[in-house]
Every structure is written in structure tokens, then in C-alpha cells.
């Protein structure tokens, strides 16, 4: 099978890259091994939340202080602002409703009740302008009886800092009787599936309206709209008070919906999405990747002019660690990271962990290095790139979106 471009990895960067290329008329395939980091999406795309230990207000400005090997710096700060606009528009064209801007972070409330700076937030969630004030005085936090993945007391405790009087109430719904019978089934996606059917939303809204009498805002777990893209809006219409959704323990319902939305966009543009397949090996010749072979397709080869590796970090298995080495498991590309495992970790879990910075080595054009030499037509994008600790910086989504757009532009040149 022959494509113009083949993308390895179906997460945020793989999909972004695929959509961009497909929008420009390229015949693309994405090979995705399964779930991606979008499945534990908080509801916001971060660009840069922290730099040099300080909280960032203007990400575009603060990027200047990042180290030279940071992916943003390597893309080129002159291009970043344009790419942030492109990313936003690409996501909006795909059908996501987002709020936020690249030159000024806004804040979202975490499930610990802490305000966190971010770039783009799904319209399901509430964006705040200020980190030290909360627009409501009296909040009711509603949870479903038997749902353990939403921590109301932590939220209540966090809201104390804003002088908010919060009360926790529980809602019982007969629609959940069946899933509550099995003790491991009362999880966010199963609740969302019930609400997707639309017959539970009316009753829930009525209950919420009764329970929120006398309060200014209703706080709920973000378990609305898995496949049904309108249910979160319907809920907000039916509840008389403002609704503030907060993330629950993954899997993230808005995250899965986002993944589906982007995948559908890619497929509508004619892209081929191979789900549950793994790239096993590649055939190289004269510094070029000619073709790849996948697990599901046996001896059927996939050829392309350019390939993009967007296989993610450790948890996505884009990079693998053993007791004596780090490696890139598909092609054996060069790794930017220490081979001595004693150097990977800090003994304090909340400190900056060295392994978080590790990734595949590339040249200036983001082409993968193999034995020190660039592979002419293999680009690298997203969190499989090294050079940043996206967790500490609050830059994970930004790096994924911008490096994949950058890779797409290299290919489209």
C-alpha cells in the first residue's frame, strides 16, 4: 500500500499532523496502537504554564527564556505565534469549541481546588481570568452515589482559599443501578454512556436544580458527552445555575470525545486510520525510510514519501527503558538520554525527573537520527521528542500540537 505520508501514533500530535496534511490533499495513514494520552486529558491544552519555576502569564513571551534545545526553541520562536493560531484553527475546524489565547494564559480549577494556568480550554469547562478569585460565593458540589473517582472534599478544601462556602451533596440515579452492581464498573465512561442516551439528563437536571437551591454555582464531575457531542451543552441549558465541570480520575470523558472528534475529522478528509495496529519494523535505504510493516497487516508493506514518528513518551511506549538501556522500539533511533539508569530519577517524586526530558534525537529539521545520521524522510513530533519536561512546564499539548504542525510544514514545503 502506498501513501503520501504515514504517521506512527494516533494521539494528539499524530492526529494534528494527519489532519494538517490531509487538509492539504495528502493521502495519509495513521497507525495507532490504541489509547493515547488524550484519554487522560484535563480538558485544557497547555502551551507553557511554568518557566524557570515561575508561573507564566504570557507563554509567547516566556518562551524566550527556555533552553536552546527545547522543542519550542528548535521550531523557532519566530514561527511559534503563527503555529499557535494554526493549531487553534485546525482544532476548531475539526469541531472542538475552545477558549483561550497564546499570549495570555487563563486558569482552570483542578480537582484539588487549585487554579492552574493554561492555553486553550474546551467549552465544557470554565475558564477563569484570575488565579486568586472565584466568581461565586456559594457552591454546591454534586457527586453520584457510589462514584469514587471525583473527590469532592478536596475541591471543597481548595475552595476555602477563595472564601467560598461549599457544600457536598450526593445524587442517586436509578439509571446507574446496573453499573453500580459491579464494583469496578462505576467509572466515568460508564456514567457518560448512560447520559449519552439522553433519557437520564432531564431527571438529573431536575435533581440538580432542587439540590442547588440557594447556591450560586453547581460543581459536577466531567462525565458528560462521550459519543454524544451535545449533551454537555444540554445539561448546562437545563440546570438553572452556572455549571462548573471538573475532571474526574481518568479515563477522561471529554478527552475521549476529543480523540474521537479529531479522528473523525481525519477520516472525513480521506485519511486512513489503522487502530490497534503496531509498526513492527522499517526498511531503510540510503538514509531514507522506504516502507514499514505492521503487526496486523503481515507481509503487506506500507510505503510513503514521508513518515512521521509521533509515538509518544514512555507510557505510550514511544521510548522503552530496560535495566541497562533506553531505546526507540520501532526503528532503533538515537535517544537523547542517559544510558545509566541511576541518572534517570530523582529520589523525590515531585522533583524534576531526568527521564521526563528524554526522547528521540533529531536534527534541526526534526528528522530522526539513526546512528548519528538523519533519516531524510522521517520526522519526529510530539512527546517522543526530548528536550523538555512537559509536566513541570505545563507544555505537553503545546509541544504536541506545534511540533506536529511544524513537521507537516516541512513535508508540505
Amino acid at each position: 500500500m502506498k501513501f503520501d505520508n504515514i504517521i506512527i501514533g494516533g494521539g494528539l500530535s499524530g492526529l494534528t499532523c494527519g489532519i494538517k496534511l490531509a487538509e492539504q490533499g495528502k493521502k495519509c495513514a495513521i497507525v495507532s496502537s490504541g489509547q493515547s494520552a488524550i484519554h487522560f486529558f484535563s480538558g485544557s491544552f497547555d502551551l507553557l504554564g511554568k518557566a524557570n519555576g515561575e508561573e507564566v502569564t504570557n507563554p509567547l513571551e516566556s518562551m524566550k527564556s527556555l533552553p536552546e534545545n527545547h522543542p519550542y526553541k528548535r521550531v523557532g520562536l519566530d514561527k511559534i505565534e503563527r503555529l499557535t493560531n494554526d493549531a487553534l484553527h485546525l482544532l476548531v475546524r475539526s469541531g472542538l469549541n475552545l477558549n483561550g489565547q497564546a499570549d495570555r494564559n487563563h486558569y482552570t480549577l483542578t480537582p484539588m481546588g487549585v487554579m492552574k494556568p493554561t492555553w486553550l480550554t474546551l467549552s465544557d469547562f470554565t475558564s477563569f481570568d484570575q488565579k486568586d478569585s472565584f466568581p461565586w460565593k456559594k457552591a454546591v458540589i454534586l457527586n453520584f452515589s457510589g462514584f469514587l473517582d471525583f473527590h469532592t472534599l478536596f475541591i471543597k478544601d481548595g475552595l476555602k482559599k477563595f472564601d467560598v462556602h461549599a457544600q457536598i451533596k450526593t445524587v442517586s440515579m436509578k439509571q446507574f443501578d446496573a453499573i453500580r452492581k459491579n464494583p469496578s464498573e462505576m467509572r466515568s465512561t460508564n456514567i457518560a454512556k448512560e447520559f449519552d442516551k439522553e433519557n437520564a439528563i432531564e431527571e438529573f437536571a431536575q435533581k440538580a436544580n432542587v439540590l442547588s437551591d440557594g447556591f450560586d454555582v453547581v460543581i459536577l464531575p466531567a462525565v458528560f458527552g462521550l459519543f454524544n457531542k451535545t449533551i454537555a451543552d444540554k445539561l448546562k441549558e437545563k440546570i438553572e445555575k452556572p455549571v462548573l465541570l471538573l475532571p474526574a480520575i481518568p479515563p477522561s470523558v471529554p478527552g475521549i470525545r476529543t480523540q474521537i472528534t479529531l479522528r473523525e475529522r481525519f477520516q472525513e478528509l480521506g485519511g486512513t486510520y489503522l487502530l490497534g495496529d503496531n509498526v513492527e519494523e522499517g526498511v531503510f535505504e540510503n538514509g531514507r525510510l522506504l516502507e514499514i510493516r505492521t503487526n496486523n497487516h503481515g507481509d503487506i508493506k506500507f510505503e510513503a514519501d514521508q513518515f512521521i514518528l509521533a509515538s509518544g513518551s514512555f507510557y505510550s511506549k514511544g521510548i522503552v527503558a530496560t535495566h541497562d538501556k533506553l531505546y526507540e522500539p520501532i526503528f532503533g533511533l538515537d535517544i537523547d538520554g542517559d544510558s545509566n539508569r541511576e541518572k534517570w530519577f530523582d529520589e523525590k517524586i515531585f522533583n524534576d525527573q531526568a527521564f521526563m526530558h528524554y526522547g528521540v534525537k533529531t536534527d534541526q529539521k526534526f528528522r530522526a537520527l539513526m546512528n548519528g545520521e538523519p533519516v531524510e524522510n522521517l520526522y519526529v513530533a510530539g512527546s517522543v521528542l526530548g528536550g523538555a519536561n512537559p509536566l513541570k512546564e505545563g507544555s505537553g499539548a503545546g509541544i504536541s500540537l506545534l511540533t506536529s504542525l511544524h513537521a507537516a510544514e516541512q513535508i508540505l514545503k
Partner: protein, 541 residues
């Protein structure tokens, strides 16, 4: 001030390990008024940091006849009194091609003279009995080894002591031993929860603090010549072996693989460390490499089995008084009457020994305490089962069938963990049956039972009682769920957030020495959830 100040106990026991808890039980059973104090939580020292091996004694048969004989005797007693803490797995002593097969007959003879039953098994048959064993073995001997859960064992002793009237203070650290001239008459404690000091008085103070007993003795002004020996172990994420696997040779590094609950353990190394380091146990890269290399010889599949954690404990070895260099160290039980030894009345130390002999150590210590208090009562701990292990008219199965109607996994797990006490776990309504920890099958009901009845101060304690967070995810999802429940009972959410952060740090300590493969993936994911999405910080208050 504290209401207990004016009360004088018959005995104050220092140390919430198996020995301390066992001594508290024994003393309480003999009618003494008892205070048990522990600076952290039950089983946080050497008790909770070993193989969890129910020794048959075979390991010591050739080199230490006395220890071997003690072990097999206590082994048989524990099967009776602590059945719910024990898995009767049996063990094999394997001879590898690199080992001397001649050792086998010497080993079998030594076992039989210590009273340990052995059976020489044809290697082919041994491999059928235990398919995970190294296929190259040239000899195998079956012995009555088993597995014991030291957390459960210690907790059962503490619970029983409490049922019989003992007072128990965890999170209370001894900061001084109180004396009146040549007589010890109490302890000064620092309460880590309330951050305040208080004095407690007793006729006898029993030092059962393991290696930390070195410092306790110093408070009393006496010197015990202790030599800390660090032993490191690895926990694997699956239970690859059904029987305990040992090397049939003189005891050496990393030659025992013990199955327990859902996992198996390889250990140990042995290394003398300075006394200053006993609170700072870390497992080095070399320790890990030795454990894997030797472990794979026992069971080759360990090479590809995920490692969950690495940890180390400190054996409290005591040198004879006339041997300050520690050259001829005993691994046996050491009971010191400081009246006889140092002219200090009211103070005794029970140390040395092994988890296997905790009950015997408790018996010997209690005998001495009774003698000093002039109490004439016989020890009954070898005959009366621990709570959770009692025989009843109904089989355990029937009890649990009755109390649980819905869920198989949590039902079985809870029964395994709490024995006949499982009926105390609330159930029946779906809220109580909901699963907190999916790896280990822990329900809300079980967590609540532990919080209400088993002295749980924080998430790390909860883990020791219920196995929350001990499975393959190492607390990735369940920690937050359990923190939520703990938070409800404490009504101090700020503290619960710190507790959650501490719990993740404690899990990380054991993961970082072996954090490659799935573990590095898991920790990255966990960090994204807690730090990335939740915004948890190391210090939330």
C-alpha cells in the same frame, strides 16, 4: 495533660513490630495492664521488610541447629494460631549444576536432626510440582516452608492485645526513658499527630524496638552492642512460583524466592551498615543487579517478569557482651534483663531472633516480665488462635458466603486478608461493595473497616492493612480513591492531600531503584494524573 499520665501500667512495650505486638498480646493474656507504643505504624521496621517466609528452619539446618529447631517448632504453632496469615505452600531446596550435590545429603541429615521433615524429589517430578523452577536443576528436596503475611500477623497480635485490654499508641515515638535512680519507671513520648510530648509510667519497660532498640537502650543509659545488617529484596508483579524456592547450599545472597498473595519476592542481600543509616534504607543498583542475577537462577522466568518494588530491612544483630567487634554474632534470640546486666531495674530488652520466632521471643520476654512482677501465669499464646484465625462451627467459607452476596473478587480478597474477621466488613449495599483498588480487590467496606477498627492514621497504614496500592499500578488510581475515603473519616482534607503526596513519595521510594519497563511508564502516567491534572504538590497545606 494526658489522662494516662497518672496511670501506672504493669508494662510498657516499645515497638510495634511482630515482637512488640506479640509481647503485648502475651502480657495482656496473662492479665497485665499493657501499653504498646510505636513511633510510626505496626510492622514498619524489620517485621514488614523481609521475605514473609514461613521458615521450615531448613535454611539454618546445616549452619545453626538451634535456630532450625526453633523455626520448625514455631512454624507448626503459627499454622495453628495464625492460619489466616499463612499460606501452606511448602518449599523446595534446589541444587543447580553449579552447586555441590553432596551438600544435599548433609542438608537432609541436618534437617532430620532438627525435626524438619524432608523428602528428596526427583528433579523431573520437582519440575512438574513447580514448573517455574530452573529446568537445569540436578536435585530437589521438599520441606514444610510457607508464606506468612507479616502485616496481618502483627495486626492480629495487636488487635488481640487490644481486645484483652491493652492500650496502643501508634505515631508515638519514645524520646526518653524515665528513671528514678536505678529504676526505669516510664517513657516520654512524642505524639507525631498532635506534635506534643507526654509521659507514661510503667513498672516494667520492655524494649522490643528491633534495631532501633540500640537507641532506646541509650536513653536508659545502657549500651547494647548492635550491628545493623541490611537486607534488600525485590517484589515481582506476578506470582511466578507456587512453592517457596531455595538454593540447596549454605545461606548466601538472593537465594530464596517466596510466593505471597499476588506477588513473589526474591531476597536477600546482607550488608553491614553503620547504625546512623538505619532510618535511611535505600536499595542500590548493585543490590538490584545481584538479586535479579541470582533470582533468575532459581526461576528463569523472573528475567522477564515485571518488578514492582525494591525495599530493604535491617536485621537487629547483637554481639555478645565480650565481643565488641561483633565477630561472633548470634542470630538467635537475645533477652536482656538490665537489672542483671547493668544494675538497672524495670528495664528489659528482647531482640535478635527472626520474624518466625516472634512468638517465642514474646513468650520469653513475658516470662521475664511476669517473674519480675511476681505474676504466676502460664503462656498460652501457642494454643489460642489469633483473631481472624479462630475455628468456628461454620467454615470460613460459609461465613463469607453469608456476609457477601455480590462480589467474588472483593469477597475472596477480604477473606484472605482478614480471615474470620471478614464478617465485620460492611456489605450488602452497593456503595460498600464498590471497588477502591482494582489490582488487589479492595472494597469501600474493607477500607472503612480498616479505618474504623485497625488503627489507620494515613494511606500508608491503610496499605499495610488492606493491600491498597500494593498491586501492579502501585497506587496510580486507588490512592486517590482511598484518600477520598480517609478524608471523609478525618474531615481534614488539607491533611489528606499531604497524606496522598506522602503516599506517592513512599511508593516512589520502592519503585525508583527498579523503574524501567512498565514501571517507568506507570510512574510517568501517575505523575501526569496527580501533578498534571490534579495539581497535587508535595506540600499542600
Amino acid at each position: 495533660m494526658n489522662k494516662n499520665r497518672s496511670k501506672e501500667y504493669d508494662v510498657i512495650i516499645i515497638g510495634g513490630g511482630a515482637t512488640g505486638a506479640g509481647t503485648a498480646r502475651d502480657c495482656a493474656m496473662r492479665g497485665l495492664s499493657v501499653l504498646l507504643v510505636e513511633r510510626h505504624d505496626f510492622a514498619t521496621g524489620a517485621t514488614g521488610r523481609n521475605h514473609g517466609l514461613l521458615h521450615s528452619g531448613a535454611r539454618y539446618a546445616v549452619t545453626d541447629h538451634e535456630s532450625a529447631a526453633e523455626c520448625i517448632e514455631e512454624n507448626m504453632i503459627l499454622r495453628k494460631i495464625a492460619n489466616h496469615c499463612i499460606e501452606e505452600n511448602n518449599g523446595l531446596f534446589l541444587t543447580l549444576p553449579e552447586d555441590d550435590i553432596a551438600f544435599q545429603s548433609q542438608f537432609v541429615d541436618a534437617c532430620s536432626s532438627a525435626g524438619i521433615s524432608t523428602e528428596i524429589i526427583d528433579p523431573k517430578l520437582a519440575l512438574r510440582m513447580e514448573p517455574s523452577a530452573n529446568p537445569d536443576i540436578i536435585g530437589a528436596v521438599k520441606v514444610p516452608d510457607g508464606s506468612v503475611d507479616p502485616f496481618r500477623l502483627t495486626m492480629s497480635n495487636a488487635l488481640d492485645a487490644k481486645l484483652k485490654g491493652a492500650d496502643i499508641l501508634t505515631q508515638h515515638e519514645v524520646v526518653d526513658i524515665l528513671k528514678d535512680q536505678d529504676r526505669v519507671n516510664g517513657v516520654e513520648l512524642f505524639d507525631h499527630e498532635k506534635k506534643e510530648k507526654a509521659k507514661y509510667y510503667g513498672k516494667i519497660v520492655c524494649n522490643a524496638a528491633g534495631i532501633w532498640g540500640h537507641n532506646i537502650a541509650r536513653f536508659a543509659g545502657v549500651n547494647i552492642n548492635m550491628f545493623p545488617a541490611k537486607g534488600s529484596l525485590l517484589i515481582f508483579g506476578h506470582r511466578v512460583n507456587k512453592m517457596v524456592l531455595n538454593r540447596c547450599r549454605k545461606p548466601a545472597n538472593a537465594d530464596i524466592l517466596v510466593p505471597g498473595d499476588t506477588i513473589c519476592l526474591i531476597g536477600t542481600t546482607s550488608e553491614r551498615i553503620p547504625i546512623e543509616e538505619i532510618d535511611n534504607m535505600y536499595v542500590s543498583k548493585d543490590d538490584v543487579d545481584v538479586l535479579i542475577r541470582e533470582g533468575v537462577k532459581l526461576s528463569p522466568s523472573l528475567a522477564t517478569t515485571r518488578i514492582l518494588r525494591a525495599y530493604a530491612g535491617v536485621r537487629p544483630l547483637v554481639a555478645a557482651d565480650d565481643d565488641p567487634s561483633g565477630r561472633s554474632i548470634s542470630r538467635g534470640i537475645v533477652l536482656m534483663d538490665h537489672k542483671e546486666r547493668d544494675g538497672l531495674e524495670g528495664f528489659i530488652t528482647i531482640t535478635g531472633g527472626k520474624l518466625m520466632t516472634y512468638r517465642l521471643m514474646a513468650e520469653e520476654a513475658t516470662d521475664l516480665i511476669c517473674k519480675k512482677l511476681d505474676v504466676d501465669k502460664k503462656c498460652e499464646t501457642a494454643n489460642i488462635p489469633l483473631p481472624g484465625s479462630e475455628k468456628s462451627d461454620e467454615t470460613l467459607n460459609n461465613v463469607s458466603q453469608k456476609v457477601y452476596s455480590i462480589n467474588g473478587i472483593t469477597q475472596k480478597s477480604a477473606k484472605d486478608r482478614h480471615g474470620s474477621l471478614a464478617h465485620k466488613i460492611a456489605q450488602g449495599d452497593e456503595n460498600e461493595d464498590s471497588m477502591v483498588c482494582e489490582c488487589e480487590g479492595v472494597s469501600i467496606g474493607e477500607v472503612k473497616y480498616a479505618i474504623n477498627e485497625l488503627h489507620v492514621n494515613n494511606l500508608i497504614d491503610l496499605r499495610r492493612r488492606t493491600r491498597v496500592g500494593m498491586g501492579t499500578c502501585q497506587g496510580e488510581l486507588c490512592a486517590c480513591r482511598a484518600a477520598g475515603l480517609l478524608c471523609e473519616s478525618m474531615e481534614e482534607p488539607g491533611k489528606a492531600k499531604d497524606d496522598l503526596a506522602n503516599f506517592l513519595q513512599e511508593r516512589w521510594k520502592g519503585m525508583s531503584p527498579i523503574a524501567w519497563g512498565e514501571t517507568i511508564n506507570e510512574i510517568q502516567f501517575t505523575s501526569w494524573i496527580y501533578e498534571g491534572i490534579y495539581g497535587l504538590k508535595p506540600d499542600n497545606n
